[in-house]
């Protein structure tokens, strides 16, 4: 198979990789992951109730599960830490210097999240050094979705529920293992240097994964359609048109300003720099911030351009469905539905979008 890929760090197109589709048994994949723990911090999804959550793979640890859908936690957590020391005293050094992350089982929506964060943080002039290093050195082993979650709406934002680019290696789950495709030179090298763990996939296996992809996609599409989410190329127009609508006031009524929607969102990147002095040393921390909180845009004199809660809710939608399409030519929402699951006020981004369309 041939893939045309866009490398997030160089923005260069390169044509990779002609390989037959390969199969790896779960037990061989366990072994592959174990071999990666030398060079990487390997994060795997583990079953947590009816969802999955990521944690570090330990030694002789095979207790992970490639979830049917995305994990509950956003993968930005491993690249753009929620609280991280970014400078110390007046030293120009870059602080974080540990093994790069290897993420196992990232879904297509997660990869879209990286495309947005890459746009924000990767920058020759003044990019975020630790994010850039983690992206450059890190490894992404993605996976097809094999089920449909009740908050999933990726197809509404133009994403198919299986990875097509922005991964090193992709897994398509089949009986007792995975069909493996490579998406980068790094992925190709990984497979080539572990050749003995793979065999050629059978036509039955390939048909199975194709069937799975089309089943999952139609479930998501059906749900998005039933919820009347505006189609992707209308979203920006809808947001702009409804800028002065009362829907914002209405939709924000149940918001408790906890900021969970921001925290859990794979594309929310806002942060705050916070200085501390400990043991006579100056430490500067970069901490996740939330645009739903009252003082997010307040200036020192007291003026606040988004003094009211509904203005902040509108701003959150504007950022994702108007700002990113304008500057990046991509919607800043991945359709993962994490914000729906996380909201204590039960604000549903899909319903708000649908209301904007019909009003």
């Amino acid at each position: 198979m041939n893939f045309v890929l866009l490398n997030p760090l160089t923005n260069a197109f390169h044509l990779s990789i002609s390989l037959p589709m390969l199969f790896i048994k779960r037990s061989n994949f366990d072994q592959l992951l174990k071999s990666l723990t030398g060079d990487y911090k390997v994060y795997v999804p583990r079953s947590m109730g009816n969802t999955t959550g990521y944690s570090l793979l330990g030694e002789s640890d095979t207790n992970y599960e490639i979830g049917e859908i995305r994990s509950f936690d956003p993968l930005k957590s491993f690249y753009f830490l929620s609280r991280e020391k970014v400078a110390e005293d007046f030293k120009p050094d870059i602080i974080r210097d540990d093994k790069p992350p290897c993420i196992v089982g990232a879904k297509a929506c997660d990869l879209k999240g990286f495309r947005v964060l890459d746009f924000v943080f990767i920058d020759d002039e003044c990019g975020d050094p630790t994010y850039m290093k983690a992206r450059e050195k890190g490894l992404i082993i993605s996976a097809d979705c094999t089920g449909f979650g009740e908050t999933c709406f990726c197809t509404a934002v133009d994403i198919d529920p299986w990875p097509q680019s922005d991964f090193d290696v992709n897994l398509s789950p089949v009986d007792d293992g995975f069909i493996v495709t490579t998406g980068s030179d790094k992925g190709l090298n990984l497979i080539e240097s572990n050749k003995s763990l793979f065999i050629e996939a059978t036509d039955t296996q390939i048909e199975f994964i194709q069937q799975n992809r089309s089943t999952v996609k139609s479930s998501v599409m059906k749900s998005a359609k039933a919820l009347r989410i505006p189609v992707a190329d209308r979203l920006r127009r809808v947001i702009k048109k409804q800028y002065d609508s009362n829907i914002w006031k209405d939709a924000s009524e149940d918001c408790v300003e906890c900021g969970a929607c921001n925290t859990i969102c794979p594309t929310c990147h806002c942060f705050l720099l916070y200085d501390q002095k400990s043991d006579g040393r100056l430490a500067r921390f970069r901490i996740w911030d939330s645009c739903m909180l009252h003082d997010f845009a307040r200036v020192a004199g007291g003026d606040n351009p988004r003094d009211r809660l509904w203005m902040r809710l509108r701003n959150r939608f504007d950022k994702k469905f108007n700002y990113f399409p304008e500057v990046l030519k991509e919607i800043g929402c991945t359709g993962c539905g994490r914000c729906i699951a996380a909201c204590p006020g039960k604000i549903d981004i899909r319903e708000v979008l649908a209301r904007l369309e019909v009003t």
Binding site: A87, F90, F121, F271, L272, C291, V299, M311
Partner: protein
């Protein structure tokens, strides 16, 4: 690559009290740190935090810079405690400055208000350095009362120059004041320049910028020629932290100087 989050160490050389709530700090960075008029610095007191300020000194002076700061919150409280010899941090320069080369051959109107006179001072030095390349230079400054005027000495010197049409006003006069009384827009009617082509620079509190902008429009200055120095909540200073977004722009990275036509359609610009 460089770490955009780390500050350069600087020494406080001198502290000048301008008004009870405004001080000017003369700083000597330990590494060369140059800036252009309109660019800003993140100024930090070790352990107390950072805040963005536009330097107020002549950008052609390379080894020191002055920053004028109003006491309004946690970081500025700590800054106001500083004494000569203290160590502070500077991160920058950040943002885009005024496009001085675009000003060549043009009539330039500078409208400053309140503590907005601080960044305006840097700009004025820049404009005086290129005065022979400008076709005209007008300055209108306003403050709430005569005591609020910063840099009295310089203002008086500039008043004496014959290559600038300069006027100052106060909202409320006192015995020491024999100039005009009223907001800054009340001393803009006698400006005699080619408004069609003139470039206007406005810097001051949001309410003053708003009405000065409307006044300039009324006089015939084009929106694309009105340069506004926007004040937004800024943390990183290079377009990553998300706080200072104005429509498709970040105030820190794409500004803080914007022409009015770039931002007029976006809500909350005057707040």
């Amino acid at each position: 690559m460089k770490n955009p989050y780390s500050s350069i160490e600087a020494e406080v050389l001198k502290v000048t009290t301008e008004t009870p709530s405004i001080k000017t700090f003369l700083l000597k960075p330990k590494e060369e740190l140059t800036f252009k008029p309109g660019q800003f610095m993140e100024f930090s007191v070790p352990g107390s935090g950072e805040a963005p300020f536009t330097p107020s000194s002549d950008s052609q002076i390379k080894d020191t810079m002055e920053i004028t700061i109003v006491k309004v919150g946690k970081v500025t409280d700590a800054i106001h405690e500083l004494k000569p010899g203290d160590t502070v941090g500077l991160r920058g320069p950040l943002g885009k400055g005024y496009p001085l080369t675009k000003f060549i051959g043009q009539d330039i109107l500078v409208i400053g208000g309140g503590v907005g006179l601080a960044p305006v001072r840097t700009l004025m030095y820049g404009l005086f350095h290129m005065r022979d390349q400008l076709s005209g230079l007008v300055y209108r400054g306003g403050c709430r009362n005569p005591e609020e005027f910063l840099y009295r000495k310089e203002l008086e010197e500039w008043m004496k120059r014959d290559d600038i049409d300069m006027k100052l006003t106060v909202d409320q006069g006192d015995d020491s004041w024999d100039g005009p009384v009223g907001v800054v827009t009340t001393i803009m009617d006698d400006i005699d320049v080619n408004f069609e082509r003139a470039k206007a620079i406005v810097c001051g509190p949001p309410i003053m910028m708003k009405f000065a902008t409307f006044k300039l429009q009324e006089l015939g200055v084009k929106d694309r020629n009105i340069y506004l120095s926007m004040e937004k909540n800024m943390s990183c200073g290079f377009g990553k932290c998300g706080h200072c977004r104005i429509g498709p722009y970040y105030c820190c990275k794409d500004g803080p100087v914007f022409t009015y036509d770039m931002i007029r359609e976006y809500p909350g610009i005057w707040e």
